[in-house]
Amino acid sequence: MDWLKATFWEIKQSSALKWFGFLLGLSHLLTFFTWASTGHPPLGYYADSAPLCWSFFEDCASLRVLSLGQMTLVYYTYPVLAAIATIMFVSNRLYGVGWFFLTLAFFFKSLLYFNDARLSHNAHYLLFLAHAVFLFAPQKKSILKYLLVSFFVASGILKLNTEWMSGVWLTQHTGFHPKFAEWVAALTALAELILPWMLVSRKSQNIVVGFLGLLGLSIGYWFISDSIGPAVQVLFVLFYPFYYFEQRRNEMEYLYQSYIRPAASQAWLPIVILAFWTLQALPFAKHVNPAMASVSQNLALEGHPTHQDCQQTTFAIFANEVREVDLGDPKGRPERLQCDPFMRFLDVKNLCRKLAEESGFQNVASSFSLRTLNDKDYRRIFESDDLCNKKVNYRNLEQVGWNRTKAD
């Protein structure tokens, strides 16, 4: 348990880390508040007999060992643990207890979050990484300093595409004039690429500019998008003033390196940062090996919601009835997943399960097409009239067609 002692020592020595622990506790409360205000989606999805599994594990339903009642207990215990952790980190002495409760809250959140892919969000991805570093990694302060910068820069890089630069997302959410929206989009991308580096500058005025700029940007987007992402960015940005003041204090007081508990190796910093950027580079691996696609898409940050138009036509086929079904946009589904092909495919599979008990039910036929802003025409993503066949999964959809079953 030496690493645990080293962890506690590191937190004890740093008020910035205690403050960050407090911020991480707040992030859990924020997460719970967001879920509570949108109809408790973790419980709603858990109550659904057919989960929408993460793409790298399509049979996640088999891992559901807790009952709905037990999961509800987990859900409502989670904010309590987070609240305790938050409060503990305010104290100078109870940081160890805070660490413990934060770890528990992290574990409970993982139980809730990984049950259903509909809960996925970039903010939670970043929070998981930040937790992993804060709770378990050595050299926390240094790593967090550059890791949080990496978060912003990665987010900025993901905005370097024509979809974001067209300003369509901003126009839809704010009503800005299209040309003004284009400029706001361009300046946002530039801000996320440039301002974070100012946070790690030696000059205080750069740090102030970077801090105020990113804070203003995050608060602005918090009002626009009303999602958890910008709120988490605000929490991350708030780490830096404490870090800065602590560094100034350390430099002035010439704090000596302790021989009882030597600092961990500086090598951890490049290792963690490199690991983060390797994860972000994974989506490009699918061009080399397509099988990587389903794995890589969940291990990297997702691109900003692109403007997508999608069309789905679905028919439920019975013995002497054909019934058109409007799968629509399920309530509470995140905006970026509205046109996600995998989600739409799982919607059809869920429909198959729901209709299986109806008399005369035979199959479901569905066609899904997608067009991004960049596309000239709609692309047919999947189309089949045998979607309820257990052998049909997302990977072999190309082999099944429509109106072929009639001829077979």
């Binding site: 630069m165 067209s166 991308a189 690429l193 440039i194 036509t313 054909v322 097409s369």
Partner: protein, 483 residues
């Protein structure tokens, strides 16, 4: 302690500058229109195709020869003149062979449907977002239900040997497997549609409403390939809201006629979509367009019967009927008359050459249906009623009185015979072989509520029992083709 970066500080400024330039480069690369008045979004929209694609994608080659043979043609004949096959002759004595509900074992939503039929059974429409097919004895074969309750199969479907083509009010065309009801393809041509589809060659022609960039709605002619559903925007002219009847086709002139509610008759070349002519009339057009004697004939809301040249659209004649008529005129060959019933119940005949009114007769028709049918009677009935042989026994069948169909001699308008119905007429008079099929509204004996029934009126035949309900399967007794 953090590593001292002072040895690298001289590099940081140029590196940061390069990084900044790189960021600016990628920003402008992804939006080259940032400094222009054009927006990137408008550039995307300009590139986007407005092609309409059917669902699902169908491979060419599944359709066999004969699959698209029309099984039911509205107004009885291919040249849309509304007289029955002159090779078939009819009796004049008819009685009820059987009566039953439209759909014996199905949804209540089909209680008051409109219908068309062929030898395979009946196709029910007009009851909201659903279409149903029954066999000849009224048992359900299949039904198609749509998800949007505001989308209706309001217009008559097109029935061929193996397929049913149906239009919805929200602009979608469906191709349906006639035996099983499976959707072969569906395509959304616009935001709305009116009128029925019509088949010409391998294409289904129909009118659909498109929304323009400035949110105006225009109604245009479309063609969909019957096998694949691929759409062609055929006409560029806006016809406005049109009547709900099928367009009328003239294969000789390759022309398609459609009447608009604004009082315009449009004629298009159905191969190219080119507008051949547009004729404006004094008022809204109420009837479908009928073709006879190289003329296109229709009736208007101000009580006129109008005939225009079918090729040029120039006015041939216009006759005042004294009352509006929403019935489609019927041509009576050999007499060269048109028969039309006005909404106030007057059955009138008009000379097709001159437009001169020949006679009018008050039928006391109490139903809301005014369409007439022209058929030929058998030789012995011509003799019995002292009809002139030169006219080959042509008569007019029309609704009359309270709950009756009457047969009229077109020469002078006298009644040849009457057929009693057990309720108020609720459909057009349709012909099946030498029998008549109509629907009526009547009171249910048990519940007392008003119900719609289908009736077959035919020649008295041995073994038919009016009180026997139709069998649970197979063809009802007395129906042509039954054993």
């Amino acid at each position: 302690m953090e590593s001292d970066k002072s040895r690298l500080s001289w590099l940081s400024k140029p590196l940061f500058f390069i990084y900044l330039m790189g960021c600016l480069f990628f920003v402008f690369k992804n939006n080259p229109y940032l400094y222009s008045t054009e927006t990137l979004k408008s550039m995307f929209h300009k590139k986007q195709s407005d092609e309409i694609h059917p669902v699902p994608q169908v491979k060419v080659g599944d359709l066999k020869a004969g699959d698209l043979t029309s099984a039911f043609v509205w107004r009885m004949n291919q040249n849309r003149s509304a007289f029955y096959n002159p090779a078939t002759t009819f009796n004049y004595k008819y009685e009820k062979i059987w009566s039953r509900h439209l759909l014996l074992d199905g949804d209540a939503i089909f209680k008051s449907s409109l219908w068309v039929f062929d030898e395979s059974g009946y196709y029910l429409y007009g009851s909201g977002a659903a279409l149903a097919a029954t066999d000849t004895s009224g048992l359900l074969r299949w039904k198609l239900k749509l998800s949007d309750p505001n989308s209706t199969f309001a217009a008559q479907p097109l029935i061929t040997k193996t397929r049913v083509f149906a239009l919805t009010t929200d602009g979608r065309l469906f191709a349906i497997d006639k035996d099983h009801g499976r959707v072969l393809w569906t395509v959304r041509a616009g935001v709305g549609s009116r009128g029925s589809p019509v088949l010409v060659g391998q294409r289904v022609l129909f009118f659909a409403t498109e929304e323009t960039a400035d949110l105006n709605k225009v109604n245009k002619l479309f063609a969909a390939y019957a096998e694949t559903g691929n759409i062609e925007r055929l006409g560029t002219d806006d016809v406005g809201p049109i009547t709900n009847y099928p367009p009328t086709i003239n294969e000789e002139l390759k022309s398609l006629y459609v009447a608009s509610e604004a009082g315009n008759l449009f004629a298009f070349n159905y191969e190219t979509g080119k507008l051949l002519f547009k004729t404006s009339t004094s008022d809204k057009i109420l009837s479908a367009v009928v073709l006879a004697d190289k003329k296109a004939i229709f009736s208007t809301m101000d009580g006129k019967l109008v005939a225009v040249d079918a090729k040029t659209g120039t006015l041939a004649w216009e006759t005042d009927l004294e009352s509006p008529s929403d019935s489609t005129p019927t041509f009576i060959p050999d007499y060269n008359y048109l028969a039309v019933m006005t909404n106030n119940g007057y059955l009138q005949t008009i000379d097709i050459k001159t437009g001169e009114r020949k006679w009018k007769f008050l039928t006391h028709n109490s139903s809301s249906h005014h369409n007439t049918v022209a058929i030929r009677l058998k030789g012995r009935w011509i003799e019995e009623h002292s009809m002139k042989w030169q006219y080959k026994g042509w008569v007019i069948v029309a609704p009359c009185g309270d709950n009756r169909l009457c047969i009229y001699n077109p020469e002078r308008g006298q009644i040849v015979d009457r057929m009693s119905l057990e309720g108020r007429l609720a459909s057009e008079i349709m012909i099946s072989g030498t029998d008549f099929v109509v629907s009526i509204t009547t009171k249910d004996k048990d519940s007392g509520e008003e119900v719609m029934q289908l009736i077959l009126l035919g020649e008295k035949r041995p073994g038919s029992d009016k009180t026997t309900p139709p069998p649970s399967s197979g063809v009802p007794p007395g129906t042509p083709g039954s054993s």
